[in-house]
């Protein structure tokens, strides 16, 4: 019964979305307030219906109702309840339902919190949003119905992939979807602006909180995914340049560019066309990511069960959405009023170069991900692969100038700055970093100079962030508490995000240069070392878990005179027969000790357990930095100037702020 209710609610929501995709748009064209108001109610209703549908599916998973095919295929009775519930989105059909749920929640958000928007703009945004809903709801209903029944009803279900039975699954996909789907809002903003022929500072200011609303969860999702892979996969890798990771990284890079270009459009009215293009691209890349995961066009560890029919459907959606938006862009964007000009040394210029570098970095990831597909078309006998060695080689030289710029950018004045003044402002920071770099280089030696450079870059970023605060607090008349208290949340956001980037950079540099590993066969009582970490195996035993059996090994780990215990498990999930490794990780600020056991093997001294010992210096900084970035975004979002429910705008529109051309 629940399955039928859920299915029916989903069909109803498709009908509502159909109406919402047409009527408010019509209202905006005709100036009909009633039709525009319908858009707001429809968006709320749509979210309610999809919410109901999703609740039904989740309840079915909770009840372990194996008469529903999806439940039977992705959860077993032996699975703990939280993972049975999370299994709702641990599969293709359920995750699509989560996707449309998030989409409808954002739509309802625009309806609820968007009353400060120009009414016609809001109506158009809601219509575009509903068109996306229609496409995805049709996709879910016609190719991936989550409520399909199964007969005969099995007694128990097939287990969810054990790798997914982890708290990571509970949060990682929903966060990513909040990010991906969040960019649908900025996409709708862009399309609506093109339709209205207006992208002015007010438009950019309205859009920016929505960019942040997508960027913050996406940042969290990527960070969490990286952390999850690190502790779950058993050897401490934290980023793999896998096509599906790339699929989340590209919208993040473009979203970051958008975040910055929207500042220029908001403050100076410039780069409006560019900002619109980025808003379109961010969502398009999210869609392409979905295509990658679900079409089987590329091989990836993350891929869902592959079905070419779905691939065709998603490709059609991408062509429909992105193709229409970019055509509109080609037709309308040249007519947009260009805003104020700026000098070649100015904040605007700095932000433009930030965007250029982020585009180049996106191009690295994009070309790396899709080049195998392109090669298959142009040179079918010369298939290639693109993996970490390519990305590491090309990404770093393009990322470095961006990171240098991050600290300089906030020092620049708007409109036009003076090179001499900039040089004076930079003198002290550059001198400090030069000393830091020299010290680091002496310590690391020439062979690891790249690590010294990376660590110095991290220090440069953190120092740059602190300097922003110092400059703000010192003001013209010296330090004052009043200036501290009145620091805008957006400034705090900038400081946190840029400092976060610094921590991440330092973590990556340390990990790539100083991590150590030792792989060997050990027996209880034996000791081995990797870098500064010394590990003694103290015992091993067999244990029973809720739905698995495992071998558990105990270790005593010594570093810098202090000793503590770690436990690693190798699990066999009894229903599916698959195995996972649970690493023992000793966490500290300076780095993680990581011990993982493998299978039984023979060596010169007899039978023992394969043990992998790693030392991962500063690895935690990578995720701490990601978290700081997300917190920075959240702080900016809380800035009252952007508050989504901020009071209504009284004047309809700003004229061009500065005489242009």
């Amino acid at each position: 019964m629940l399955a039928e209710i859920g299915h029916f609610a989903l069909i109803l929501s498709l009908l509502v979305a159909l109406a919402q995709s047409v009527l408010p748009m019509l209202g905006a064209i005709r100036g009909d307030a009633a039709l525009m108001a319908f858009g707001r109610s429809a968006a709320g209703l749509q979210a309610l219906l999809i919410g109901l549908s999703f609740a039904c599916l989740m309840t079915l998973f909770g009840q372990a109702d194996f008469s529903v095919a999806l439940v039977a295929n992705h959860s077993a009775l032996s699975q703990p309840l939280p993972y049975r519930l999370a299994a709702t989105w641990g599969n293709h059909e359920g995750s699509m339902l989560l996707w449309v749920l998030v989409l409808s929640i954002y739509g309802a958000g625009i309806a609820r919190f968007g009353d400060n928007l120009r009414a016609t703009l809001q109506a158009r945004i809601l219509s575009v949003q509903a068109m996306i809903s229609v496409a995805f709801l049709a996709f879910a209903l016609f190719t991936s119905n989550p409520f399909a029944r199964l007969f005969p009803v099995p007694l128990d279900g097939a287990e969810l992939n054990p790798l997914l039975q982890d708290p990571g699954l509970v949060f990682h996909p929903p966060l990513l979807y909040l990010g991906y789907v969040g960019f649908s809002v900025t996409f709708s903003f862009a399309v609506a602006a093109l339709l209205e022929g207006r992208a002015d500072p007010a438009w950019a200011r309205w859009m920016r909180p929505w960019v942040l609303a997508a960027w913050v969860p996406l940042t969290c999702g990527i960070t969490l995914g990286s952390f999850w892979a690190y502790y779950e996969l058993g050897w401490g890798g934290w980023w793999f340049w896998d096509p599906v990771e790339n699929a989340s990284f590209m919208p993040w890079l473009i979203g970051t560019a958008l975040l910055h270009s929207a500042i220029v459009t908001e403050k100076r009215g410039s780069l409006a066309g560019w900002t619109i293009l980025l808003a379109i691209l961010a969502f398009s890349l999210s869609l392409i990511g979905t295509f990658l995961v679900r079409s089987g066009i590329l091989t990836s560890v993350h891929a869902f069960a592959v079905d070419p029919k779905r691939g065709v459907f998603i490709l059609a959606m991408i062509i429909g959405a992105t193709g229409t938006a970019l055509t509109l862009f080609a037709a309308k964007a040249p007519m947009l009023r260009s805003g104020a000009l700026f000098g070649s040394v100015s904040r605007e210029s700095g932000l433009t170069f930030n965007n250029l570098l982020l585009m180049a970095l996106t191009a690295v990831v994009f070309l790396g991900t899709f080049y195998p597909v392109i090669m298959e078309a142009v040179a079918p006998t010369n298939k290639i692969s693109v993996g970490p060695p390519y990305y590491n080689l090309v990404f770093a030289p393009l990322a470095a100038p961006l990171l240098i710029l991050v600290t300089i950018g906030p020092m620049l004045a708007w409109k036009r700055d003076d090179l001499g003044a900039l040089a004076r402002k930079l003198l002290l920071p550059v001198a400090i970093i030069a000393v830091v770099l020299a010290g680091l280089a002496l310590w690391t030696g020439l062979a690891k100079l790249s690590a010294a450079l990376g660590l110095a870059l991290g220090a440069w970023l953190i120092m740059g962030a602190v300097l922003v605060l110092v400059r703000r607090w010192r003001g013209a008349g010296g330090f004052s508490w009043r200036l501290v208290r009145t620091t805008p949340a957006a400034t705090i956001g900038l400081v946190l995000a840029h400092a976060g980037l610094g921590f991440t950079t330092a973590g990556i540099a340390a990990m790539s240069a100083f991590s150590a590993e030792k792989i060997l066969v050990m027996r209880p009582g034996e000791t081995a070392a990797a870098g500064p970490v010394s590990v003694t195996m103290t015992g091993a035993e067999e244990v029973e878990g809720a739905n698995y059996r495992a071998l558990r090994a105990h270790f005593s780990v010594r570093q810098n005179g202090s000793t503590h215990g770690l436990v690693s498990e190798r699990r066999l999930y009894t229903v599916s027969g698959s195995q996972t490794t649970e690493a023992g990780i000793g966490v500290s600020v300076l780095g993680n000790q990581y011990v993982a056991i493998g299978d039984v093997q023979q060596d010169a001294r007899g039978q023992g357990l394969v043990v992998r010992i790693y030392w991962h210096p500063l690895v935690g900084w990578i995720w701490f930095g990601g978290l700081l970035m997300a917190m920075g975004g959240a702080a900016s979002l809380s800035d009252r100037r952007f508050r989504i429910g901020a009071p209504q705008v009284r004047t309809p529109l700003a004229p061009n702020l500065v005489p242009a051309e």
Binding site: G273, L277, I280, L281, S284, I288, F291, S295, G296, I297, L298, T299, P308, G311, V312, L315, I318, I319, T322, G323, L326, T327, F329, A330, A333, P334, F370, P372, V373, I374, E376, A377, P380, T381, K383
Partner: protein, 178 residues
């Protein structure tokens, strides 16, 4: 000029969409063989009888076109291909088999159960010859011409359609070659 700049994104996107559409029709896992039109790499493998016995060597692939089939008793798709191989052998085309990473005992039992379509069977227990051949899985089949050059590689089982439509015409053509 300025106009062109704004049209650029849609043009680039059209190109990408075309590639993605094309990509949908391809199997990303299928790897083209490096051996096409090159001589069969050298190998000399023992048979699957007890104590080795005579298998065959690459040097023997001369004088007539042959099929070289890589299979294994543990291979899931091989039983499906087996009737086709039997049919091919019945039609008078010699099929040679290499059992990949398979215990000779298991290979023998498998052939006893399903019947032996092979003119000769050799064992590649270490999988080293398979690597030389660029094998990525079982079954795979190479078509070798009179001069011992590889002319075609089938990845996955040979279906009746592939045999009738592609491989058989090729074999007949290779027979006609000087």
């Amino acid at each position: 000029m300025k106009r062109l700049l704004f049209i650029l994104p849609i043009i680039a996107f059209a190109g990408l969409a075309a590639f993605l559409g094309f990509g949908l029709t391809q199997d990303p896992k299928e790897l083209p063989s490096q051996l096409i039109d090159r001589p069969l790499p050298e190998f000399a493998l023992p048979g699957i009888e007890d104590g080795g016995g005579p298998g065959f060597a690459s040097a023997s692939f001369k004088g007539e076109p042959r099929l070289l089939n890589i299979w294994a008793s543990w291979c899931a798709a091989c039983p499906q291909e087996h009737p086709v191989l039997t049919q091919i052998a019945r039609e008078g085309f010699p099929v040679y088999g290499i059992a990949w990473k398979d215990k000779p005992q298991d290979s023998r039992e498998w052939l006893a159960r399903y019947g032996n379509p092979y003119a000769a069977v050799a064992a590649d227990q270490q999988g080293r010859t398979a690597i030389d051949l660029g094998v990525t899985g079982v079954p795979e089949t190479f078509i070798v011409d009179k001069k011992g050059r590889v002319r075609f590689k089938q990845i996955g089982p040979i279906s009746p359609e592939v045999w009738e439509g592609q491989i058989k015409p090729l074999m007949q053509q290779l027979r006609a070659e000087a």
